[in-house]
Symmetry: C2
Subunit: 334 residues, 2 copies
Amino acid sequence: MDTTYHDMWSLTKNALLSNGCDDRNSAAVATTVASAEWTGSRSHGLFRVPGYIKSLRSRKVDGHASPEVTHPTPAIVSVDANNGFAPLALEEGVEALTKVVSSTGVAALIVRNSYHFAALWHETFSLASRGYAALAVVCSTPLVAPFGSKKAFFGTNPISFAFPRKVEQPLVFDMATSTMAHGDVQIAAREGRQIPSDVGLSPSGSSTTDPNEVLDGILLPFGGYKGSLISLMVELMAAGLAGDNFSYEAELGDNGDGGPARGGEFIVAFSPEILAGPGWDEHCAAFFTEYAQQGDTYLPGESKRRLADLRGTVTVDNEIYRTIRNLTQINNKK
Amino acid sequence: MDTTYHDMWSLTKNALLSNGCDDRNSAAVATTVASAEWTGSRSHGLFRVPGYIKSLRSRKVDGHASPEVTHPTPAIVSVDANNGFAPLALEEGVEALTKVVSSTGVAALIVRNSYHFAALWHETFSLASRGYAALAVVCSTPLVAPFGSKKAFFGTNPISFAFPRKVEQPLVFDMATSTMAHGDVQIAAREGRQIPSDVGLSPSGSSTTDPNEVLDGILLPFGGYKGSLISLMVELMAAGLAGDNFSYEAELGDNGDGGPARGGEFIVAFSPEILAGPGWDEHCAAFFTEYAQQGDTYLPGESKRRLADLRGTVTVDNEIYRTIRNLTQINNKK
């Protein structure tokens, strides 16, 4: 079916509200869900709402959590999400980070005690839209075998990077450090599609194109040992530096309700105006022009342009839509 | 032949001294060269010395340059290398960065107007040895085709990350974002060895295992489009944020003497003690133990342990050694 941004936002917000989440938290999650679906990041869109609701019903997540923002140093923003969903904590954290980095030129944001499965580009894109470059990482639960292993140990450990541009929309990418994102494998399984043979291994450790076998088995890191090292770096930033769960710890502490696991997020932001000085935008614009002339190159972030205009509709999965509406209605009838 | 760390250090330092480099700069370059060779990073060891000397002889590099360290904000160290080799600028920059990050918890170092082809791990390892995590990036000259292109545009754009450990040596990796480092392809060509078929393409754009064809053609990024995005991020950090040459600009401004090209370097450092708080080391040590139990996993940095003990010898290439000695003697006879 086709639907509007605002319809998806309301659908998500109402579903959360009717399952014990307060207004501020419901609105923050609805914004990240609707923005993802709107820009084609389906694996972080409506698809995730039933999981959010499961974690409210199991009381794993506090739908009334109020994040606390502190500044351990003038260049650091630390947010304790107090066992709430990540989006509200990130909203407040990014707001504080923007103020800090505008004077320090480099600043870090750590979020702790949050339940996370939104896309990372939401924060990096937001920072880049305000003139700051940003790198964000998060780990999750064991799904990916490190290079040299056949056991799930790393999360899909995404890395998002955004870079501002004064005239154009920011450059932004957000990619799992596994060959394919877990959500995309789940979607392929639901839709009965095959996946490339380098995505993962079956439970017996053999190569397969069946997404169900990979979901029961393991995902592989992208790019062999080099991608595995990037994933290792993500663990050390998102858990080691943020002081929250490594992926293997997140699984041990989880109640298995199918919702997001508890963990941290780590973002570092940079002011090109302060670091490189005036002229940075012309310098980078010339680079982007050259890059575009090298062939069929890919400047990531174009899908995010849709956020600048929320009119019109997108096509969403009927079944997911109905499921979320039912999750709302059932609870309203109670 | 077998030789000692101190012999390699003196060989390099004397070669540079006798070709117009001052004592401080010669010593700094000799330390990075000898450390690389000592720990098995042959592509950044003695192999690079003739290139350093070419760039002194062509007067591209100022062997008497004195780096200037400034602090645009309390969290940023900016070093103008004043057209000298990178190692001395980095030595002074890392010293200043260490002081800054110990109070701010996150800090950035940008180096500009330097001539760089040392390994990046030297700086990240040094920071991690003092208790700080660090990420370092640099771009170079066009050698790698972005995903979707068959034209060299990116440098090999290495990324190095190091993480401190209180008991063990730090974790540290340093890898080109190309499938193979350019120096390693050069070494394979010199030694007449074949290379894997995914490393690069011949000048006509076809797959090849001949390193000479790849040196005339292009290198490919590791891990397809994902590795290409990491390389794009490196350009934007090392040139966009540092305010120095993108790889394509470095080539345009170079005199083609075979020495290093002018460019910037970007390092960001983090204090786990401030960010994650006390207990970070035990938390991460448990993670490393788990990681080691996942199979034949790779915890990078073990080769750097050799730096803790500079006794004994390593085997070096006879021809390179003789070449460097000749480059010293020729000039001394003048």
